[in-house]
Symmetry: C2
Subunit: 226 residues, 2 copies
Amino acid sequence: MNTEDVLGKAPLFAALDRESAAALRTSITEVQLSKGQTLFSEGETGDRLYVVLEGKIKLSRTSTDGRENLLSVLGPSEMFGELSLFDPRPRTATATALTDVRLAGLGHDDLRPWLTGRPEVALHLLRALAQRLRRTNDVLADLVFTDVPGRVAKQLLDLAERFGTKTEEGVRVHHDLTQEELAQLVGASRETVNKALADFAQRGWLRIEAKAVTILDLDRLYNRSR
Amino acid sequence: MNTEDVLGKAPLFAALDRESAAALRTSITEVQLSKGQTLFSEGETGDRLYVVLEGKIKLSRTSTDGRENLLSVLGPSEMFGELSLFDPRPRTATATALTDVRLAGLGHDDLRPWLTGRPEVALHLLRALAQRLRRTNDVLADLVFTDVPGRVAKQLLDLAERFGTKTEEGVRVHHDLTQEELAQLVGASRETVNKALADFAQRGWLRIEAKAVTILDLDRLYNRSR
DNA sequence: GCCTATGGGTGGGGTGCGTCACAATGAGAA
DNA sequence: TTCTCATTGTGACGCACCCCACCCATAGGC
């Protein structure tokens, strides 16, 4: 997919007609990172937002005693880093490339005139943040009410929706996460997640692959996630 | 505190000069609820946001199997219900009065012209949502990394900051929550929260009162929360 | 080829906390 | 006042999950 199309799906650009979008694109700085590189770190100042063009990025936080947790994994057309832009404070998360990645970056000053001059841009962004807040509240509830295998199942289904490709066997989800990272994403230990995955595989619901799974029985997995 | 001053502290009005604020106020509908009444429920449609003028409101969600959890407790000048306004979907939480309460309500159509005509309003709202998202992410991390007593301590300190009054003994926090509700707020069982509170009281860090606590040793409680 | 590092797989012990069960206290109604 | 219902207080028990310990497989460097 080309840059144009990927950007068009981001909430920021979806609000704009073709002409305006092209104008905004002139302010964009493209960034390339190779796998493992970090774009910005917790505590730094920063007022740029990014849209993933190609590849995947993870957003993580580190607790005082050094333990990590993943807030999210982002793929093409998804936006991040905008909190420091709307609310001028240090970054509260670290952004690291899970794969080689290409990003579109936009600074506060580039965006400002569009926010003030184009109400529909601000409205789209408000909607995007509102949706994120809802999602985050869902995740919160899951942490309280759902056990680890359930959260793993749910997370896999979510990843499948966003990154999955249909095959004749089922849905292949190349998530690019180590089991350690998957564990940090669902708020559990690596071992427990591994055992949950092994159990699912044992039951024939999925097959484990390198940084990927193929979901063979969506329905069963879905039931386990509720 | 009078209505004018309370509203002025809400992010929605903070963006406006005195004159515009007065104009926006004419669209406001005031609502009164008595303790225990619900303003709106999960699943309903709705496109109004509210600012608490007096009293306290809780926002809760119910999981499929009937268990509840509290998203937040809101007091004067705090805003809620705006997600359904920015993102037209059914409400994802239920709003219930913890005390007799007075609210300022504003519908989508009332607000729309201000959002489109006044960029600073939209910017303030974006900032408010960004801050909420950060807070929610903090809560998420706490659920993963902090034990129940720690979460209780943290929650009490948060409530103290927002609703506490200084006395010669310490800080009195009239939170208006039953221990059951406090438990739902920190994502734990009522019993465990009770035991944590009893332990804190035992150590002389606080005194338990009816729907309130007086924090006697802020420092120790703070250390326990980290 | 070999050697090291990184990630995956698996068993077992200890424990924090949820669940159950019941007693005690308090607040509001009649 | 007394009765009732809501809320608080506390012990016993079980289990999900964290932590530790270890081995295996694979990939990448030399």
